[in-house]
């Protein structure tokens, strides 16, 4: 009793803080350890630091940005990540192969099917197993649906970060319909845990097909109608055009992929550059834009939604009959070896690199996440812009902190 009551409490007014209270300065309390850190945390004349996040209304999760400002102008920016780090790679080393699929599910929680797809493909390479064609078609179908859901949500978010309240809720309608649909197919609405090594968990069912058929008839119109609120809005277009511009070569150097890279004019899409699954048999275009600014990144996603609808349509027409799982033993012990598999997720190249040591657990599973790659170039893109644009640029890259922090 006495021991607990004598323990100092933070509420005790008698406790005086030994530190003098002042404005919180986001400068680390130790001497700089790297060249870049020393450069960043040195203030010039008339500059100040401002700390954004990890609790901030618009940092898309728990991202922290340290901004170096000159008035309202951003001189430099240092993203600090790791607030959501769960050590998924380490967890996967200690889980068996089937279990890892549910471990990687919550990484990019907006488009969870792609998270499963890359490791599953890597394991299939390790096992030399052929996936039945029906399973491949089902994978493509569900993944493209998930891509539309992710893009629709992105477009709403983009507007929210520019102060528009309505588009996010309108695009949530689209996402909700798709998520309900995938829920009918996979059993869950967000973290699907649907792909299996050698196939998928369940076949197409009537609930899913009827919802999909119902939605497909009005999808294009509905999505476009939802977005007229933004695409023709003068304020929105003026703020986005010419903002955060990057050229193709720099983007390649920054290891960009996905819609963000294609918005600079390079038609690099893993679905075509290094075809996986059945994408080679499907007919679709890779939309590109040459401006490389936020508006291009935004509008490109609308084009991608249309292409995804095309793919879904073809999948439905060509869906073959047959099994949905390859014949595999329950306990999987791949031969020792290494395999790399990449898929084109809504944010770019999502890849998994698996090493097997002959046991039932992967020796190493490396997850390559596009959000992580894109986020590191925010600092370059916003130099010389205003604070208001920091969030716009960051939102236009569409990072998901669950994926960034692994």
């Amino acid at each position: 009793m006495t021991a607990t009551s004598s323990r100092p409490s933070a509420d005790d007014p008698r406790i005086t803080l030994d530190q003098e209270l002042g404005i919180f300065e986001p400068v680390p309390p130790y001497p700089p350890r790297t060249e870049r850190e020393a450069e960043f945390y040195t203030l010039g004349d008339g500059q100040m630091f401002i700390n954004m996040g990890p609790q901030h209304p618009s940092t898309h999760g728990v991202l922290r940005l340290v901004l170096k400002l000159e008035g309202e102008q951003v001189v430099d920016l240092d993203p600090v990540v790791g607030y959501l780090h769960r050590g998924v790679e380490k967890l996967c080393e200690n889980a068996d192969y089937h279990h890892t699929i549910s471990q990687v599910d919550p990484l990019e929680y907006i488009s969870a099917l792609f998270n499963e797809w890359a490791p599953v493909m890597a394991y299939e390479k390790l096992l030399d197993v052929e996936v039945p064609r029906r399973a491949e078609y089902i994978r493509v179908l569900s993944a493209e649906l998930n891509r539309i859901a992710s893009h629709a949500l992105f477009m709403g978010w983009m507007a929210l970060d520019l102060g528009g309240l309505t588009p996010i809720l309108w695009s949530f309608i689209e996402r909700d319909e798709i998520v309900e649909m995938l829920g009918a197919l996979t059993g869950q609405r967000m973290l699907f845990n649907y792909f299996r090594i050698g196939g998928v968990n369940g076949d197409l069912n009537h609930d899913f097909m009827s919802r999909l058929g119902d939605w497909m008839t009005r999808a294009t119109d509905q999505i476009e109608a939802n977005l007229t609120l933004l695409n023709t809005n003068e304020i929105f277009v003026r703020r986005m055009r010419g903002l955060g511009t990057i050229d193709g070569q720099t983007a390649l150097q920054m290891c960009w992929t996905g819609p963000n890279l294609r918005a600079t004019g390079l038609p690099f899409d893993i679905r075509r550059a290094h075809p996986f699954s059945v994408y080679q048999e499907l007919d679709f275009d890779i939309p590109t834009r040459i401006e490389g600014d936020c508006l291009a990144r935004y509008l490109l996603r609308l084009d991608e939604i249309k292409q995804s609808l095309r793919i879904i349509d073809q999948c439905l027409h060509r869906m073959p009959d047959g099994p949905i799982m390859a014949k595999l033993p329950r306990l999987i012990r791949p031969r020792p070896g290494r395999a790399y598999a990449a898929v084109e997720s809504p944010r770019g190249q999502y890849a998994a690199y698996a090493i097997s040591d002959g046991t039932d657990q992967p020796f190493r599973l490396r997850i390559h996440d596009p959000s992580f790659i894109h986020l590191q170039s925010v600092g370059q893109l916003v130099q010389g812009q205003l604070i208001a644009d920091t969030m716009a640029v960051m939102a236009s890259l569409d990072p998901v902190m669950g994926g960034v922090d692994k």
Binding site: L21, G22, I23, M48, I50, H56, P57, S58, E72, A159, L160, D161, L162, G163, G164, L165, T166, L169, W170, I173, L229, L230, N233, I235, F236, R238, R239, L386, I387, A388, D389, T390, M391
Partner: protein, 447 residues
Amino acid sequence: MTFVARTWNRLTIPGRVLLGLFLLGGLLTGALIALIIFSEPILELLGANLPLVRFVGAATVVLLMTIPTAFLIIYMEMKIIALMNLRLGPDRVGPFGSLLSVVHGLKVLMKEDFTPTGADAPVFTLAPVVTYLASVMTLLVIPFAPGLFGQDMNIALLYFFAISGLGVVGLLMGGWSSFNKYSLLGGLRSAAQVISYEVPLVLSVVGLLILAGTMSLNQLVLNQAGWFTDWYIWQQPLGFLIFFIAATAEANRTPFDLTEADSEIVAGFATEYSGMRFGFFFFAEYVNVFIVSALTVTLFFGGWNAPFPFPEIALAFDPGSLGIALLILVAVVPVVGTLILAMPFYLLRSSMPFWQALVIGFVLFNIVAVAAVLGWAFVSLEWVAGLLWFMLKTYTFVFIFVWMRGTLPRVRIDQLMGFAWKWLLPASLLNLFVTAGAVVLVRELGA
């Protein structure tokens, strides 16, 4: 002094309360006696300073009026934006959730009123008061209805702009004293924004003043009497546009709500505020919306005038002529009306007990009675009709503000400033010179 302190410390809590009540009662009794004794000189004093008395009275009434107005607009905003977002919005507290903003107000009252360490406490505390008073005091000169206004100044418009410009001082005080960089940025943003938009705001009205030849808002409204074609909007369309845009910026509303851009600087100047001090900022924002709408209506849309000469309906009978029968009527009609309205429910729905039917009948009768009284007041009392028209027009503009908030994204600070200085200012100058030229031309040709 020590004696008083010691006595006070020895008292139990009920004792302290009783002592307080006792002292208060004594004071009030004394004041009442003094009032009765000196009633004559007091009345004389009040009579001599009637404008001042009127001013204080009007200020009190206006201050009391702002709170329900703010509640109503907050509810409107929540509900309308929710419907635009295809959501339900508030639907739990009161009919259609209409009491939710009242609950919000109570919540704000009960929250901890927190002053951050390092804040400049007096300035920090005063800031919301300044902002709130600035918006409340502008209401004094707005003519709500014929004869229903605080003060009929001959420089009412000037007073309006002067006082509403004071609001920014409060925002700046809040931003500066909060000891927070987000607040500081928000405060400075609001200062830059409001001062910039003050210029086109005032200039856009000058054209109208040349036409009207008066700055009294009451006179301006009287000038616009008649058909809706007599409203100043038709003579000053450009002026109206500039005024409306600049007023949106003055009221810190979307798309010019940079001072509290939540996706950039959290809540701007209000970041460190909590409790009722935040509540004052919050209310001031909505009162501002009302004021700006009211002024727009007053200047450009005929104020309390009906859009067309409303036909005078002479009531067929005067209730006063009934004499004693009126009293009997007042006693009988509610009972009979309630019974008549309750009957259908009781007779047609066999499952309903009689008392329930009676309650329904009573509620229905009240609605009918209120409607009848309002209709009678509208027809026979000029100020009721005026107030109704005024509120109708004002809330139309409030709706437009809410609509804009639901639709538009936010502009950037450089676009905001560029728009004020590069477009609105030249446009308002153009409006001013064209109007002045036209007035001179008409006079020359007429002469």
